[in-house]
Amino acid sequence: MTINVITGILSLMIGLGYSYMAWTLPRATVGNPIAPSIFPLILGVGMTIMGIILLIQEKSQASKHEGKTVSFTLTQYGKSIAQVTLFCVLYAFFFERAGYLLSTFLFLVMVLYMFNGKERWKSILGISLGFSVGVYILFGEVLNIQLPRMPFLGL
């Protein structure tokens, strides 16, 4: 399966799903009852058509030569992405719960550690501390935007 086939199938699915949702939207009580649905329906149909065209294109191409197929083995690159995404999700989850200072400090330590390893622990701690404290003070004091505080210590 090539990446274009995947894109085509995804577009088709998004197009159809979106069109169905657009069609089944609650009818408006004021004005034209289907007014909120018309524009989205055009989009849904357009997306569906694009998906179909892409699939047809791929089919005619595939008969001529083999497109590059997608492999699902996890490369080192893929692993780093997955890991950082996980850190991002955790960071977002603890952003308010643990407060800006603590969550940001830990997030940066983890991401920086991933790429720099143990040997550079001084830079890692320095950058993480400097960034989280710096941004916290900049927003709180200079820009008057209060970032989430830690539930303890009140910072």
């Binding site: 894109t7 849904g44 950082v84 977002a92 960034f131």
Partner: protein, 498 residues
Amino acid sequence: MDVILSNLSLGLQVALQPINIFWVTLGGLLGTIIGMLPGLGPATGVAVLLPLTFTMGPVGALITMAGVYYGAMFGGSRSSILINTPGDGAAIAATFDGYPLAMKGRAEAALAISAIASFIGGMISTIVMIFTAVPVARFAIKFGPAEYFLLMVFALSATAAMAKTNVVKGFISLFLGLMVSTVGLDAQSGVSRFTFGILELQGGIDFLIIILGIYALGEVFKSFRMIHEGSRKVQTKFGPIWITKEDWKRCWLPILRSTPLGFFVGVLPGAGGTMAALMAYNNEKNLSKKPEEFGKGAIEGLAAPEAANNAASVGALIPMMTLGIPGSGTTAVMMGALLMLGLQPGPLLFEKHPDIAWGMIASMIIGNIVCIIINMPLAKMLVRVLAIPARYLFPIVLGLAFIGTYAINNSVADLFIMIIFGLIGLFMEKADIPTSPMILAGIVGGMMEQSFRQARLISGGDWSIFWGSPICITLIVLTVASITWPILKEIKRKKAGS
């Protein structure tokens, strides 16, 4: 003429206030640094720095953003010249001859001519903009909702059709962006659309979050491949950054030729700085008596694209400011900044807020002067940031993306939305789907649907309103042409190939 001069003097009064000079200098400085760093372009720069402007008031914020936008255009080519890595897409052409020049030991001349060419290109274009902005805005004021809708259709489909790889993929990106713009409560009927019952989605998805997700997070994800590289060796000792008379003789004409070319390409929807720079480069190569020197350090091969690139970045502001329709990812972000400040760009901006519109235009003149100072005498200091290894830089950009997103609505839900769009951006990169049609569509989608519905309301549901006026028909023809042109070219190319 008198009107334009009085407008300009109003603008200069605003732009020359000490605090505003300070903002444009700060913006230019930050923009230059961000532009220099590979992987971070003007779009990311404006998006990440936007929260800093929240408390400045609209004029200050806009002037700062214009400085960032401008500085990034200047800065992008610093890294092209010194480390053969373009700071942003538009600086690719600067690697062709800029890096060979530096290799020959002429880094000073390369840095100088690129700043000078950028300055001239930007300055001339700003002057042209001063004279064209109001007429364009006046013309656009005559547009009814049907015309406005079709204008947006044209701008968006031209952008989608520009997609390098495949026109269909451009349109997939476009529809995706428009779909995202329909999420949330429908303002006219109160119907909640595509929210999946999630309360946070009722207010819609803020396009700035999409931009931060796609550009900041997505760019960082993409760049992980090079994160394990060690620190780069950057030349930090320079002689005086200046050019010789001989250099100037070779460059002045290419600069003047490439400026109008770049400006025109910039005004067109979809085409942008990258295309302008590449076109200018090829153009000069074709015109040159010594085309064999190109790619080996021909100084005019650096000057031409640099002038074109800056001219294009000014030209691109015209449709955004006068029509409210951005033609590139970066101007979309600028428009996002304006909307965030409660200003609707478009024909009425010049009437309702002349101080802001003209203040921004005048500050571009100041910004240009500031940027050439930053990029010539101060360049020696600034290029040191290129030595920061990616493994320190990208985690910091991640941190900035998060704080930038949070500051928009003080909402944690937005952080998750940003992560999702970062991953969408990554997939799109893998699948060769261009992201700029989606960003543009996301930003104008709401207005587009509104015009569409207004037009149908006026006509009582009669579809013929969309082809009922000469302007409409012209726009339809332009749209069809913009889509079929690249397809025909592709077919022709294939035929020639087989």
